[in-house]
């Protein structure tokens, strides 16, 4: 007989997914107090974590703050820097030799609250001379200038411009492990899981390890990365591939040290489009993480390495590139019986827009909030979780695909294939058809847990010079004056911030030295 309550939670895997999930569960479920659940992380001492995910979303700020992390300490220990958005270089059209063009997708919607007043239709009518990203958000300019999102006197986790982090993934997992075991009453076992034992009803009863024998539990979180040891291998839940939509199935990663200790640090991810994929460039405190994600159907590995080295230039000399195969798609179910998969075991699209870690946080938060302490409640939560995460991943796929499919690039088969209608999900095609005649509005994003909302779509659509024809409906936009005032206000805010904000490098050095004030 299975016992009626779920008290022992076993998390298998200690990467970004395992430790973030452990921290969020432990905090929300009050682990370590009388009557609470017990949380145990089992991690292989031999299998390294994937260790590449370095870009996050602003949700990470809330997550770290809520689990009681000290922001200054976290940043110092994880080589972390502030991320204020992404710059997309050469995505819009095929660049002429030596030419580059780009647009920003900043994280701040503070000075751009398109939910209250959508500037897009006015911008489309020429109410500002600036490109969309600069016209509607001070942060694009702040990124261009390499300025920080806050000052050294701004309290920890507070912001003048919305921000997330770039960090060293290996150091982050180690930091969270220490935090979980020392401060959040999470148990830790270093062992290899060799076998998963099932109960006759199909639920997981326990895992057999090499060095710690049999470990039983009531609820299991599969954070074993792309192996998906529990949900995939043991429970046999299949994989829904998305390689007909997203083509980038291989990555080459490099760590590039700065030439000098005071080298400027970019405060946004730089995503540069190439012939068969794109390169990421993420500035940490002491080095950059640079890599090329590409389609193996459209490029050889050799050619890919050439592109990556060319892109980095002479700083790549003598550095090794690490090759990573990507399995694109998601599990047919994320939750089955008493097991839920979080992290690479659940899904992976590709690194564009850094959605993976942010969906890990979302999954762990929902699991914690809805945790079925009573076994009888499992089925209900399982269904809800599966429904919402299928939706969230599908919506994320649409948003990633958007970056490709509205491009004017046709320089290679890769871009031609990416823009072919047959590769664009219907849900996205329908929206794009609508947006050719109407600017996107808040009712296009009516799901409460929409992963990417109106502002994000506007930045990408109009950064990519997507054409919305309003000529048949100009009478619907009479607030020209208000729009002009808002554009002017954004300019003023930008000028003010420019005076007040230190450079990103300057602030990072200070944060490492002094920490950030608690209030």
């Amino acid at each position: 007989m299975l016992k009626p309550t779920l008290d022992d939670i076993i998390i298998v895997g200690g990467g970004t997914a395992g430790w973030l999930t452990a921290a969020i569960l432990a905090k929300k479920l009050n682990a370590g107090t009388a009557g609470s659940v017990q949380i145990t992380v089992i991690e292989s001492p031999d299998i390294p974590i994937i260790g590449v995910g370095e870009g996050t979303w602003p949700t990470m700020r809330t997550t770290l703050q809520s689990v009681g992390v000290d922001e200054g300490e976290f940043m110092r220990e994880c080589d972390a820097t502030f991320k204020q958005g992404a710059e997309f270089v050469n995505w819009q059209h095929t660049p002429a030799a030596g030419e580059t063009h780009s647009y920003f997708h900043p994280l701040s919607a503070v000075f751009h609250s398109s939910y209250d007043f959508n500037l897009a239709p006015y911008w489309l009518q020429g109410a500002s001379e600036l490109p969309y990203d600069l016209a509607v958000a001070s942060q694009s300019r702040i990124c261009q200038l390499g300025l920080a999102p806050k000052k050294i006197t701004t309290p920890a986790f507070a912001a003048l411009q919305n921000y997330a982090y770039h960090f060293n993934a290996v150091k982050f997992a180690a930091f969270m492990k220490k935090h979980c075991t020392e401060k959040l009453a999470v148990h830790f076992i270093a062992a290899n899981v060799q076998q998963v034992r099932l109960h006759p009803c199909g639920a997981i009863a326990g895992v057999l390890t090499d060095s710690h024998g049999d470990i039983n539990g009531d609820f299991f979180v599969d954070c074993t990365g792309s192996k998906a040891l529990l949900l995939g291998e043991a429970l046999g839940v299949g994989w829904h591939s998305i390689n007909d939509v997203i083509f980038n199935d291989t990555a080459l990663a490099m760590q590039v040290p700065y030439p000098t200790a005071d080298w400027p640090i970019a405060t946004h991810t730089i995503a540069t489009a190439h012939e068969a994929g794109w390169t990421w460039d993420i500035g940490l405190h002491n080095r950059r993480g640079v890599g090329y994600v590409y389609s193996s159907a459209h490029s050889t590995d050799q050619r890919a390495e050439q592109i990556l080295r060319q892109h980095i230039g002479e700083q790549a000399e003598g550095l090794e590139a690490r090759k990573i195969k990507l399995n694109l798609g998601y599990r047919q179910q994320f939750w089955q019986q008493n097991c839920v998969a979080i992290g690479m075991s659940a899904a992976f699209i590709e690194p564009l827009e850094a959605s993976a870690i942010f969906l890990i946080e979302a999954a762990a938060n929902m699991l914690a909030e809805q945790f079925p302490r009573s076994r009888a409640a499992l089925g209900f939560v399982e269904k809800k979780f599966n429904d919402t995460f299928k939706l969230r991943w599908d919506k994320s796929i649409d948003f990633i695909k958007l970056h490709y499919c509205i491009s004017q690039r046709r320089d290679t088969a890769y871009w031609v294939d990416n823009c072919a209608d047959s590769s664009i999900p219907d849900s996205l095609q329908q929206r794009l058809a609508h947006w050719r005649l109407h600017p996107p509005g808040k009712y296009d994003f009516d799901y409460a847990f929409e992963p990417f909302v109106l502002d994000s779509y506007l930045f990408v659509l109009y950064g990519m010079k997507f054409n919305t024809d309003l000529s048949h409906n100009l009478s619907s936009y009479p607030d020209k004056q208000r729009a002009q005032q808002l554009f002017a206000e954004i300019d003023r805010t930008t000028a003010l911030l420019q005076q007040q904000l230190p450079t990103h490098r300057e602030l990072i050095d200070k944060v490492y030295r002094y920490g950030l004030p608690k209030l």
């Binding site: 000052k151 050294i152 006197t153 200070k510 030295r513 002094y514 920490g515 004030p517 209030l519």
Partner: protein, 232 residues
């Protein structure tokens, strides 16, 4: 501007140090640094507040002497208008700095741009390559101040741990002018103080912390007097 340099028996052989009871260097300072060891004495003269150092984000303790930057309501050409003179003001232009945080050694430094430090008038600093008795006495008080500054940092760290600091905004309505807010000031949260457990409360006793907490609270009665000075 200040130009802090280490005092050097060779380089500064001919230099003298003058004292000026009018303290012209703080004529327009609206806050003056205070150390925790001074709180009890300072509380009878000024409101004691906490502010963040704009260069480091770290809190420090200060006497509030004006109601907007550039204004010192205790400073008059005729003389200092308060019973208490903060130690840092009295030590100026000398200060003691610790080149390595953990060592007990101090270097005596001077604001070389101060007219108090010159070659014409004042007390002689060096004689036969050695510091004079006058310099030694001034150096001792500079070192004593630097030592209390470590205590102040500990005290503030404890206040932060116990969540006893809270932001305070002063809304001022000068006669015939627009009302404005003086922001960036922090004080002690009395409500939170009342909620401390007996153990937390006792932990404040170390280094006379309880006295310091009460000195800060009592110094708040100086606020209306400070505002009153504006009207004078």
């Amino acid at each position: 501007m200040t130009n802090i340099v280490a005092l050097d028996s060779q380089q500064h052989q001919q230099h003298k140090l003058r004292e000026d009871p009018l303290f012209p260097h703080i004529a327009s300072a609206h806050i003056l640094p205070l150390e925790v060891t001074e709180f009890a004495a300072a509380a009878v003269s000024f409101p004691i507040v906490f502010v963040k150092d704009s260069a480091t984000g770290q809190f420090r303790a200060c006497a509030l002497t004006g109601l907007q930057p550039g204004q010192n309501l205790y400073w008059q050409p005729s003389g200092w208008q308060a019973a208490y003179i903060p130690l840092a003001v009295r030590n100026y232009p000398l200060l003691a700095v610790q080149p390595e945080a953990q060592s007990g050694d101090y270097i005596i430094a001077v604001d070389a741009d101060s007219p108090l430090f010159n070659q014409h008038s004042g007390e002689v600093l060096f004689a036969a390559d050695k510091g004079t008795a006058y310099l030694q006495q001034r150096a001792r008080s500079a070192i004593a101040l630097a030592q209390s500054s470590a205590l102040t940092q500990q005290f503030i760290a404890r206040l932060l741990e116990l969540e006893l600091l809270v932001a305070r905004t002063l809304t001022l309505t000068p006669k015939g002018a627009e009302p404005y807010d003086l922001t960036g000031l922090y004080g002690i949260n009395e409500q939170r103080l009342a909620q401390l457990t007996a153990e937390q409360w006792l932990s404040l006793r170390a280094n006379n912390g309880l006295l310091a907490v009460h000195a800060v609270l009592m110094s708040m009665s100086q606020l209306p007097l400070l505002v009153g000075r504006l009207a004078q």
